[in-house]
Structures are given as structure tokens and as C-alpha cells.
Amino acid sequence: MNQELTYEAAYTELQQIAEEIENETVSVDVLAEKVKRASVLIEFCQQKLRATEVEVNNIIKQMENKPGA
């Protein structure tokens, strides 16, 4: 599933989990499970962000190295 997971989808799911936990609508029975999932999603998002950042920074560096800019 993670192969097809997008940042948007992961973030949306994360927000839902955060909201559920915030509103205390999550049961103790599934709390650990939800927190686990949140941790997976956060890590996924962070990795995705870092990867994107690196990619974007590379593009920016290339642009800055060109004399015309």
C-alpha cells in the first residue's frame, strides 16, 4: 500500500487520526494501533518531504549556477 501512498493521502489520514485522538473519539482498544499508524504516516511524510526538498534544492542549485539567472 505504501508504494501507492501519496503525501496528500498520508497527510489527510494523519489529520483524521489526530482529530479522532483530539476529540477522544478513539477507543483505548485501538489507541495503540492508531498511534502506530500515525507514526508510520508521519515518517512517510517526512521522508517524502525530505526527498522532495533534496530534489527541489538540486533543481534550484542548477538554476542558480546558470549565468543568466
Partner: protein, 479 residues
């Protein structure tokens, strides 16, 4: 040989000279006239020409005089040309200050001392206004006047984002064109341009048709030019009248590619400038305008680049922050939930332990109250019953006493009654009982006079005979 007197020609011309000098002397005249047969000797700075007056109807020459300008007059003419932009030449209408001279060799001569520039400017301005009115009248499809400005098809066109492909109409290798080209090619941004030249003679009003033809050539070339640049070749200041012509004004106004003019004049802008997309003063300024235009575009691109880079980085930081906040929210809230549940369980624990004790205590109290009620009451009940019994005894005794009294009273009543009724007691009170024979009589009816009767009193009986009988009235017996 003839005998009449002769004089030398020089004596005659001397007399003419004398006569004219006597009449005109040093007097000068402001004369309005047209110029013809003009010739200019640049080396000497001499102008030779004729001043003529034409009949306003037939154009036939009604007066003509040869004139010359040199020295100050020639200088005034140069100034005139510079100020008006009008070349001193044939067929111009001028106001000139002249003196009348007679030269023994050259004959009658008018010397131009001064030329009135404002007269000619006024004339030219009048012509220009007429041309503009004509343009508005005849080309209303693509020329309108809005306030002081002329709105034309050409100046309503928008310049492309970048001006790179140019058609330049100019006189070949004129100084202006060289300036233009140099400025373009040596721009400090290294912008590349493609410049196609359309050479023409840009001098003299009559060349307006040529310029128009070059515009048509540009159009027919099929090249998608970004703009057309019209540059005057430079040099003399007297080439402007071409740009005030109706022909060129119309062609520029109507032209479908934006036209930049760099005519290089000092005075009021020409009709061509008014009709063009972007008029500037000089060819160099035209080139600078184009470079600035492209630079503005590149600046725009650079600004967007800057925005995109900054925003992309901001986007990352805001996403990092959002993630971090979510992470913190999940962690904190999870701990809060667990803590909350722990407290709730603790509360329930307290409720159950205290509550159950309190339930028991409550029942204990209730039981005590109830048993107290049950135990206290029987004694009171018994005491009450005992009281009832005592009352009962007392009642019976008092009831009995009353009972006895009543009975005794009854008996006493009868005792009295019978004592009163006893016959012995009646006789004692003076009553008597009358017997007729053995019978007690209670009526005189059966007793006749002379009958024997016995009268019994309480202490003895008397034997008697009835002597008389008198009946009583009813009322009289009521004792």
C-alpha cells in the same frame, strides 16, 4: 557722331543709384512673399532667390524681384531652418525683412536682412492641424482623438512580451541608424536581436510615398516582426516635414505591427509620432526602449523564479511544521487520553469503594431508625391500652352512680305520686265520699229527694236523707 550729349552708363546707373538711395535710403520693409529660383552657395553662405507674389486666384505672378541673403541674413536663415524644421527653399511662404539696393553691376537687388520664424511656424502648425483634422475625418476607422491623445490602431496594439525580431525603416547607414544598431548590439544583457533593414530616403516631404512603400514591404515580407522601428537618418534639422504628412500619418496609424519611432527632433512631436505605438526622441532611445522592454520581461521571469524558489522552501518549512505539530498533537493527546482514563478509573474506584460503604451505612441507619420505631412503639401501645382500661373502670363507676341516682329518682317520683293519690289523704283535705247503698255515686242523677245516702268523711261515716236537689250549671262546677 551725334551732337546730343551723352553720359557714361556709370553716370546713369549712378543717377539710378542716387535716386533709389534718395527714396529708400536705409529704410527696411517686412514683406510677405514666396520664394522661387533659390540657389545656395554653401561655401560663401550666399542665398540667391526671387521673391514673387502670386495672384490668389490664378497663381499668376503679379510681382517679382530678385533677392539675396548673405552675412547676417544668411545666419538668420540658418536659425530659421533650425527652429522651424523648414528648409529655406522654393515655394515656401515667408515673412522677410528686406532693404532695397541698387548695384551698378547687378542692378536692383533686395537684400534679406531677417526672416520671421514664428510666421512660418504658424504656417506649418496650421498645415499640421489641417492634416490631423483630415486624418481624423478620413481615417475614423483607426484614428480617434481622446482628450489630447490620438488613439490609433497601431498604438492600441500590444507589444509582444519580448521584442526580438525588428524591421527598421531608415535611410541607409545614417548616423541615427548606426546609433540604434550600436545600442542594440552592445546591450549589457547580451540580448540577441534580429534586425532587418528597409532603406529609404528619409528626407523631403515628397519622400513620404517611399516611406509608405517600405512599410508595405515590411508587411508583405511575411516575417512575424515583433515591432517596426522608423529612424530618421540624422543630419539636417529640416527633414521633419515628411513626418507630418497625411500619407505617412495614415500608414503608421493603420499599420498592424507596433511601430516605434526614433525621429530625433527637438520640437513638438510629428504626426507620425502621434500615430505610432511608441514614439521616442532619438534612435538610441528607441533601442533603449526595446532593451528595457525585454529586461522588464526577464525581470518578471526572475521575479517569478524568485517567488517559486522562496515559496517552495516556505512550503517545505510549513509542511515540516505542520507534520511536527500533528506529531506533537498525537503524542500529547494520546498521553492526555491515557491520563484521563487513568483518572476516570481511579474515580470509579473511589466511587465504588466509598459508594458501597455509604450504601451500607445508609442501610444501617435506616435499619436502626426502623428498629427504633418498632421497639419504642409497643410500650406506648401497651401504656395506651392500660390507660384505656383505667378510663373504662372510671367510666363504669361514674355511669353506675348516675344509673343509681336515676333509678332512685324514679322510685321517689312514684312514692310521692302514690302518697298523693291515696284516698285517706284526699278525705283529710275535706273531701267526702257519697254512697247510695253500697255504691259510691259520682252523679246526683240517680238520687231523688228523700232518698237515704251515706256520707263518709276521713274520721267517720254519716247516715243522711236528701232533702232537696238543685242541679248546677256546668260553669259553676269549675272549681
Amino acid at each position: 557722331m551725334t551732337a546730343f550729349e551723352t553720359i557714361k552708363l556709370s553716370a546713369l546707373t549712378g543717377k539710378i543709384q542716387q535716386a533709389l538711395s534718395n527714396v529708400f535710403g536705409e529704410e527696411t520693409f517686412w514683406v510677405v512673399a514666396d520664394v522661387t529660383n533659390h540657389a545656395f552657395y554653401a561655401q560663401k553662405g550666399y542665398h540667391y532667390f526671387d521673391l514673387v507674389e502670386k495672384d490668389t486666384n490664378s497663381s499668376a505672378i503679379v510681382a517679382k524681384v530678385a533677392a539675396v541673403a548673405w552675412g547676417n541674413g544668411s545666419i538668420r536663415i540658418r536659425e530659421f531652418e533650425y527652429v522651424t524644421g523648414q528648409q529655406f527653399k522654393n515655394d515656401i511662404h515667408v515673412l522677410v525683412k528686406v532693404s532695397v539696393n541698387y548695384h551698378q553691376v547687378h542692378g536692383l537687388q533686395i537684400t534679406l536682412l531677417d526672416i520671421d520664424t514664428s510666421f512660418t511656424i504658424g504656417m506649418l502648425e496650421q498645415q499640421k492641424q489641417q492634416t490631423l483634422l483630415r486624418l481624423l475625418a478620413e481615417c475614423s476607422d483607426y484614428i480617434r482623438k481622446v482628450g489630447d491623445r490620438y488613439v490609433t490602431r497601431n498604438n492600441q496594439l500590444s507589444l509582444p512580451a519580448v521584442i526580438q525580431k525588428l524591421a527598421v525603416i531608415t535611410s541607409g547607414n545614417s548616423a541615427g541608424f548606426q546609433d540604434f544598431r550600436h545600442t542594440l548590439e552592445h546591450n549589457r544583457f547580451a540580448y540577441a536581436f534580429q534586425v532587418d533593414t528597409y532603406f529609404t530616403v528619409v528626407q523631403g516631404e515628397s519622400k513620404a510615398e517611399l516611406v509608405q512603400q517600405r512599410l508595405i514591404d515590411v508587411y508583405n515580407s511575411g516575417v512575424a516582426y515583433d515591432a517596426v522601428v522608423i529612424i530618421r537618418g540624422g543630419g539636417a534639422q529640416t527633414d521633419f516635414l515628411l513626418f507630418d504628412t497625411f500619407l505617412l500619418g495614415r500608414a503608421v496609424a493603420k499599420f498592424p505591427i507596433p511601430i516605434i519611432t526614433g525621429i530625433g527632433h527637438q520640437k513638438n512631436e510629428t504626426i507620425t509620432d502621434m500615430m505610432a505605438h511608441s514614439p521616442v526622441k532619438t534612435p538610441t532611445k528607441a533601442a533603449e526602449l526595446i532593451i528595457a522592454h525585454n529586461k522588464a520581461f526577464e525581470d518578471g521571469v526572475s521575479a517569478l523564479q524568485h517567488t517559486i524558489l522562496i515559496r517552495a522552501q516556505q512550503l517545505f518549512s510549513s509542511h515540516y511544521q505542520a507534520l511536527s505539530q500533528l506529531n506533537a498533537a498525537v503524542i500529547n493527546q494520546t498521553r492526555t487520553i491515557l491520563q484521563g482514563q487513568r483518572e476516570m478509573l481511579h474515580d470509579y474506584h473511589n466511587v465504588v469503594s466509598h459508594g458501597s460503604r455509604s450504601v451500607l451505612q445508609h442501610h444501617q441507619r435506616e435499619l436502626l431508625t426502623l428498629s427504633g420505631a418498632i421497639l419504642a412503639r409497643p410500650r406506648a401501645v401497651i401504656a395506651g391500652k392500660q390507660n384505656d382500661l383505667v378510663n373504662m373502670t372510671a367510666n363504669i363507676r361514674s355511669f353506675n352512680r348516675l344509673y343509681m341516682q336515676n333509678r332512685r329518682g324514679q322510685l321517689a317520683h312514684y312514692d310521692t305520686l302514690f302518697k298523693l293519690m291515696s284516698p285517706v289523704n284526699i278525705l283529710k283535705r275535706g273531701f267526702a265520699i257519697v254512697y247510695a247503698g253500697d255504691k259510691i255515686i259520682n252523679s246526683a242523677l240517680p238520687v231523688a229527694a228523700g232518698s237515704p245516702i251515706t256520707v263518709r268523711l276521713h274520721d267517720a261515716s254519716l247516715e243522711a236523707t236528701v232533702t232537696a236537689k238543685t242541679p248546677h250549671d256546668e260553669s259553676g262546677t269549675d272549681i
